[in-house]
């Protein structure tokens, strides 16, 4: 049963639904700033074999209920806006095709472990500030150059690039943080996203900030609160594998690598 916004039903709709297949989309709705009510609204949307969950959500927003709160931008899995729980599992809406879910009914909920702003959009301030905390930039004295100096690049072999490129692919979607069990309880844990970025810069042959960064993450709510549950890597849409980065970082702290 599609819930139709009362005002919307008065609008003159010109869209003709042409697709033969359709799917039921259950969207979790809430606006915690106003009241604590949480409910699911059901919508029936037409689908094609290439329709993504984001397409379906935007279809609902355009034609059935304009008030659905959802964050999106690139629609090609490179901006990290559209993380949410789809049929219970954290995923990017724009990178999940409805056809691959093999289900007539799709439930979308906001990501866990973040405060909800509205409906599917969550507040990511903590992830953003934890990212900043691990000093995610090349640390060395001579990192600023000017045109007159004629300075060229630091040499770096393709093999050296491969040492950090996977961690550099993080789109900050925050899915990892929403899947991590430590995150579920520990509100001061730095989280897999930031830890993977700490490793990204340490593994970069141009960086000299290893000790500073290790100091930041070696505290009571730092790296040691990861117990290699692996859920972060399980849900990462970009192959970053934060769990691997974290275990490799531990090697430095345990004195096994340098």
């Amino acid at each position: 049963m599609a819930t139709i916004h009362p005002k919307l039903s008065e609008e003159l709709s010109q869209t003709v639904v042409s697709s033969t297949k359709s799917v039921k989309l259950k969207i979790k709705r809430s606006n915690p700033n106003v009241n604590s009510e949480q409910k699911f609204d059901d919508f029936v949307v037409p689908i094609e074999k290439w329709t993504t969950v984001l397409d379906a959500l935007l279809d609902v927003k355009s034609h059935l209920d304009h008030s659905v709160g959802v964050r999106y931008s690139c629609r090609q899995a490179s901006c990290g806006s559209c993380g949410m729980k789809i049929n219970g599992k954290p995923a990017l809406a724009c990178f999940t095709k409805i056809s691959e879910l093999n289900s007539d009914s799709i439930t979308v909920e906001p990501m866990d472990n973040y405060p909800v702003v509205r409906d599917l959009a969550v507040n990511m301030d903590r992830m953003i500030s934890n990212h900043k905390k691990v000093m995610p930039y090349v640390i060395r004295e001579d990192s600023e150059i000017d045109a007159e100096s004629g300075i060229r690049e630091f040499l770096q072999s393709p093999e050296n690039v491969d040492k950090y490129i996977q961690f550099s692919s993080c789109i900050k979607c925050g899915l990892c943080n929403s899947a991590c069990p430590t995150m579920a309880m520990d509100k001061t844990f730095v989280g897999p996203q930031a830890l993977a970025q700490a490793y990204r810069y340490i593994a970069d042959s141009r960086d000299k900030g290893k000790n500073k960064r290790l100091k930041v993450i070696d505290e009571s709510h730092g790296i040691w609160r990861c117990h290699f549950a692996g859920s972060c890597s399980q849900v990462c849409p970009k192959g970053v594998d934060p769990a691997m980065g974290i275990q490799l970082l531990r090697g430095y702290l345990l004195g096994i690598r340098d």
Partner: protein, 146 residues
């Protein structure tokens, strides 16, 4: 910040590893590791208390031993054996992984992405550990109920 706490999944996120398809067997291992760790700690405290009865003479010692000579007591001990084997086995796996071994090597990821740290070796270890724990429990029971 209050809001922040409320938004967390909380214990639900701990106790409900979901279908194995959601986060994989690794998440179940994570949960069992906690539970067995706590269980063992509880048992250990009890064990220290129990063994202290040795100071009170044979009668008391034998009496306290009787507590575990029942069917429930045997089942409990079997569970402890299982917890111990799982916790130890999984602990060894974790220590090896957390030192950076057996979790693959960093390289350019190619779509469809497969996280290297979540690999067959690890999964096999977890299943093997679970199997060993079951086996040990079975063996323990066989001995105890003999």
């Amino acid at each position: 910040m209050e809001r922040e706490t409320g938004a967390r999944e909380g214990l639900k996120g701990w106790l409900n590893p979901g279908k194995i398809g959601k986060f994989g067997i690794e998440r179940l291992a994570w949960l069992l590791m906690r539970l067995t760790g706590l269980g063992l700690l509880a048992y250990f405290i009890g064990h220290i208390y129990e063994t202290s009865h040795i100071l009170d003479g044979k009668a008391v010692w034998d009496k306290s031993l009787e507590m575990t000579q029942t069917t429930e007591g045997h089942l409990f001990l079997a569970l402890v054996i299982g917890m111990c084997v799982f916790h130890t086995g999984n602990g060894i796996r974790l220590m090896i992984a957390q030192m950076g071994y057996g979790i693959g090597k960093t390289e350019r990821p190619d779509y469809p992405y497969k996280p290297q740290s979540i690999n067959m070796k690890g999964k096999a270890c977890i299943y093997a550990t679970l199997g060993m724990a079951a086996l040990a429990m079975w063996y323990g029971m066989a001995v105890m109920f003999a």
